[in-house]
């Protein structure tokens, strides 16, 4: 009798726990898809950014590795080919006519040819690329420090962000873009890179110009950069959250 009751109780407990966990899980899904809840979860993004920036010296360098540490295969992720006719034409011409326009809130808007960029002093760094998915790869990047370009175009006092407009367009016609604070543009390791492991960037890795934004996750490192716009706010650009992935729920601050 006592045994039966214990058994019943156990089954009741099991059933209750099972049902409760299903309800909790469904509840989590509902919360995830609600309008208000993600905005609460997202409150920690600012907190994380403030704390991380506070503990990290402005110009502290991300770890640089040795030649022996370079990944044999550097995986290409996200868009691996813009696939537009325009871009295909550039590929055919070996990017001889590719330009990067730097404009918006700057004193001297300037259009840079690839040759002009390569003629500027360059920086080479062997750094770790950390994808938001969790994997890491180490590569040797060469490019122009973005800070040098900023000194040349002279940002206006109101400029707070640099927005990177890219050549890749997704299946729904949405163009890839990214952004960072103006201050991050001046970090010594922030590059407009044109070489990976000693050769010109190939298409999967963002030819001919891609951003290196060390200290933040891979999706911030925009590929196929065509135009850099300095702006006082991210509100009117793209989906308004500062980047292609950010508009889909990823954090704008990707230091973690």
């Amino acid at each position: 009798m006592k045994h039966e009751r214990a058994l019943e109780r156990r089954q009741f407990l099991k059933g209750t726990l099972g049902a409760a966990s299903l309800v909790v899980l469904a509840g989590c899904d509902n919360l995830t898809q609600s309008r208000w809840f993600p905005s609460i979860l997202n409150k920690t993004e600012k907190l994380t950014e403030r704390v991380q920036r506070a503990v990290t010296p402005t110009n502290a360098l991300a770890k640089e590795y040795g030649e022996a540490d370079i990944s044999k295969v550097f995986p290409a992720n996200g868009s691996i080919d813009p696939g537009t006719e325009d871009y295909a034409e550039h590929v055919a011409k070996h990017f001889s006519e590719w330009t990067v326009m730097i404009g918006g809130l700057v004193r001297i808007p300037t259009r840079w040819s690839l040759a002009a960029l390569k003629a500027l002093p360059s920086r080479t760094q062997i750094t770790r690329h950390d994808c938001v998915e969790g994997w890491s790869a180490i590569g040797k990047w060469t490019g122009v420090p973005l800070g040098d370009l900023m000194h040349l175009v002279q940002p206006l006092p109101g400029a707070k962000y640099a927005v990177f407009h890219c050549a890749d367009i997704d299946d729904e016609g949405i163009a890839y873009y990214e952004s960072m604070t103006l201050a991050d543009c001046y970090h010594p390791q922030t590059l407009l890179a044109y070489e990976l492991n000693g050769s010109a960037l190939d298409v999967p890795h963002g030819a001919p110009i891609r951003l290196r934004f060390e200290r933040q996750l891979g999706y911030k490192h925009a590929k196929y950069v065509m135009r850099i716009e300095l702006a006082d706010s991210l509100a009117g650009i793209g989906g308004g959250r500062g980047g292609y992935w950010e508009d889909q729920g990823y954090e704008w601050y990707a230091g973690i």
Binding site: V55, D130, Q216, G255
Partner: protein, 321 residues
Amino acid sequence: MGSLIPDPGQENRPGSDLGMRSEPISLKAHAASDGPTVLQGVVSAARPASAPVVERIYRHRLPVRISHWLNVPCLFILIMSGLQIFNAHPALYWGDRSDRDQPVLSIRPMKTESDEIRGITTILGHQFNTTGVLGYSDGSGRAFPAWATVPSYKSLAMGRQWHLFFAWLLVINGLFFTAYALISRHVTRDLAPTGKDLRGIGKAVTDHLMFRHPTGHEAKRYNVLQKLAYVVMLFIVAPLIILTGLTMSPMIDTAFPWLLTIFGGRQAARTIHFIACFSFVGFIVIHLLQVILTGFVNNMRSMVTGWFVVKREHEGAGHEA
């Protein structure tokens, strides 16, 4: 339960174990309560108050209880959203890089020769068929199944949002608990195993294996295995999981490059984070089992109200109420 609610103003009695308040239950106290099931049939009416058969002790103080219950949603959400994040790249590596041909662990759907999809878990080169749970479940190729992740559907972005929010909550709760536990001497008095405890570890292990649980006086304090489990989880595994989590942050690596050194690289840190996560899973399973085996109602009451009931040894040591 009116009479069982502790009076926070009352001083701890010196000499009681765990620095807890302890008071004998007399018939009067019992009659005045709404009769929690644990007490029924235990108190003898004829016995004078000076020789009680059960004793109730104030086992868990409020800050500990709050911290404990905050940990419950934190750990569940962190584990399940962590598995969601893991699913985005279901492989672990050692060192700084992810060399895809040399994973420590991978959990992936694979096609067999007959075009069937199997979930294959590979640990250090050894393959296991884990179809239905790992690698392939409910008709979709995913490392951990829908019932184990938050959200249940695939969403790295939302998995991260859940994870990072509750990570902050866990850290804040952890700091609060640690500060309280040190200042109140909860650590030194209740959690740190004594020399005597450690000498009795062999007996404790056999007792646990035979499902013999301490009763009477011994049940008032944590036993040595319990102490070790709590100390290891609180002061070794929890800091480890937080630090390895931070080591995955490229910004934190810039500020504190030694993190990469001590854990052996970012991917190694990710692997350790994963192992630490599963030691939490193991801890939770055993913890819940013990809560049920050693008197579910009594344990739950003590973690909700603080009050824990202990039977006197001479009154039938060995059985549960």
